[in-house]
Symmetry: C2
Subunit: 334 residues, 2 copies
């Protein structure tokens, strides 16, 4: 294995000191006159010198690497968020390490340890079970994806599910629906669900009495959506419209309706939340609240850059990006 040229080799060839080469390579030539700089760049070219970021990191304690820790990259919500993160960080010279927590605390902790060991400059995480204290004690700048109150000590960026839910249910009310079902997704985390609050509040605003039997809770899967639809349609008076906690559930409900010979949107309107890719491929295409996934990733990355660069305010921020109604084919007037 041929030894790679170092800054010392470049210095010798250009007839300058290693400090001067470093000034050209790391500081863009600041403090070096143009003639000297040219000599150095030429020597770099002739030798095929490639800077060693590991050695730089030893001295600077900066790696230009961050971690994006999410539950699972194959979940259709996350690739677009990831893309927003990557585009911002890439433009600033950072590389992004991806980690899948699989909704498991032990994995979350292992990745935290990896981040510490590798001296990563920052962490973007959609935490599942890891405690806020553990995140803080890593000593690495961290921004939370999602807006859970358990992490209120950190900057948080997420979608506003409360407002998204209200928008969705308002859309159904505007279409004349009064008997509106809701299929909630079940999480391991016992959190106060913003979707439920949004639904309850918008019904109250509209003067529609709350009927608990119109609310059912299922796993966040398509099969869960199918089960939820079946439950709601076995009621004495089924709902004329259903709000689903996310698109995956909504697609399951849509498929269950088709299988049961219930017309969508003719007999029941269905609306989701998220606007994943598949929402455009159903028949009819799914009406949903579109979460700005790319912008969530982008904004979280911008917050993290501020922390890394020491420019973040000392108080934690909570940024909730509003979703927009994506009116397609699964909702219609009662």
């Amino acid at each position: 294995m041929k030894r790679r040229p170092t800054i010392i080799d470049v210095a010798k060839k250009a007839g300058v000191s290693k400090s001067t080469v470093s000034r050209v390579v790391a500081d863009g030539g600041q403090g070096v006159n143009d003639e000297t700089k040219e000599r150095v760049l030429q020597a770099i070219d002739e030798l095929g010198y490639v800077r060693n970021a590991i050695a730089s990191s030893m001295r600077t304690d900066r790696t230009n690497l961050i971690m994006l820790a999410i539950p699972d990259i194959t979940n259709p919500y996350w690739p677009e968020v990831a893309r927003g993160v990557q585009d911002v960080m890439d433009a600033e010279g950072y590389a992004v390490v991806f980690a899948n927590s699989d909704w498991d605390e032990e994995r979350e902790l292992e990745y935290l340890e990896m981040a510490r060991r590798n001296r990563l400059d920052g962490i973007l995480i959609n935490p599942v079970q890891v405690s806020s204290a553990k995140l803080e004690s890593s000593g690495i700048p961290t921004v939370i994806l999602g807006t859970r109150e358990a992490y209120s000590a950190f900057d948080r960026v997420g979608a506003d599910s409360y407002v998204g839910t209200k928008t969705a249910v308002q859309h159904l009310i505007d279409l004349g629906h009064r008997r509106i079902g809701m299929i909630l997704g079940q999480l391991d985390i016992k959190s106060k669900d913003s979707r439920r609050r949004g639904y309850v509040d918008i019904l109250k605003d509209a003067g529609i009495p709350l009927d608990e039997e119109l609310i059912t809770t299922v796993p966040f899967t398509r099969a869960g959506g199918e089960a939820g639809f079946t439950t709601l349609f076995q009621l004495g008076t089924p709902p004329s419209a259903i709000f689903c906690a996310n698109d995956t559930i909504a697609i399951g409900a849509l498929q269950a309706a088709y299988a049961a010979g219930v017309g969508v949107p003719k007999d029941v309107s269905i609306i989701g939340l998220d606007d994943i890719d598949a929402a455009l491929t159903t028949n009819p295409p799914l009406t949903t609240i579109s979460k700005p996934k790319y912008d969530i990733g982008k904004q979280a990355a911008l917050f993290l850059l501020e922390h890394i660069q020491g420019a973040a305010p000392s108080f934690p921020r909570k940024l909730q990006l509003a979703g927009k109604l994506a009116l397609r084919g699964t909702t219609t007037q009662k």
Copy 2:
């Protein structure tokens, strides 16, 4: 900023040399007796020492980092491949940096440069335009995702689109179809298309004459699929079945059929390639050839590990994983 404890601090506290601490931390205690090892581990615990992987890398020239370079993480084909890569590398203690080439050579080259600068241990890449010579000159162990002949000097892992196409068209033939259309996807790369070869060969095997007007080429988008369907259905004698170059095109064709009042599968059977998530959400669910995306990622990662560990054979390997027919709702007997 409090200085973090180093191996020297641990050595002092445990009453041993730094070499002994290193043997405990890096070699699992090999060459250190149990009593000494326990003293070192206790000192590590009390001091909260965290190993510095950057310093290790300086000495070992190993980072335990690899790069996964793909065109775009938001393309529904790639998250599952990525997941296969991550699960294998994660289990071996490697972290994975993700890169999006956006089908642009300049970006590909920039990421290669980043990989060199950061002394990454390996590269997994679905190359678009970057040359084989450039990949070789990086000096970093590299495995190709996909099986393009332009990269025959490297180990390659991909799906067998030739066999996949033959399987799909054979399925249509078995259902009695003889007038079988094909919507091909257009790439910037002028490659000999294995899908086209598979189609031509299987028709010849079945004694069905090739009719060029049954072949149309569109962009790899849903809109492309719509346009391709429209073209084929404007023929004097439309096909009774259509093979689509990937699921995204197939979903577009399915939507165009619905919009044109053409029944699927009653009036035309449609089959895709890939088995992306959305294939399960169409109505009817898409019959397709399921590429083993997770296994492609996994196998490529296993090859890369062999290269990193110096255990790879000196001849390049080409591994093509067969797809399987996923029989759903868009194909039926003529």
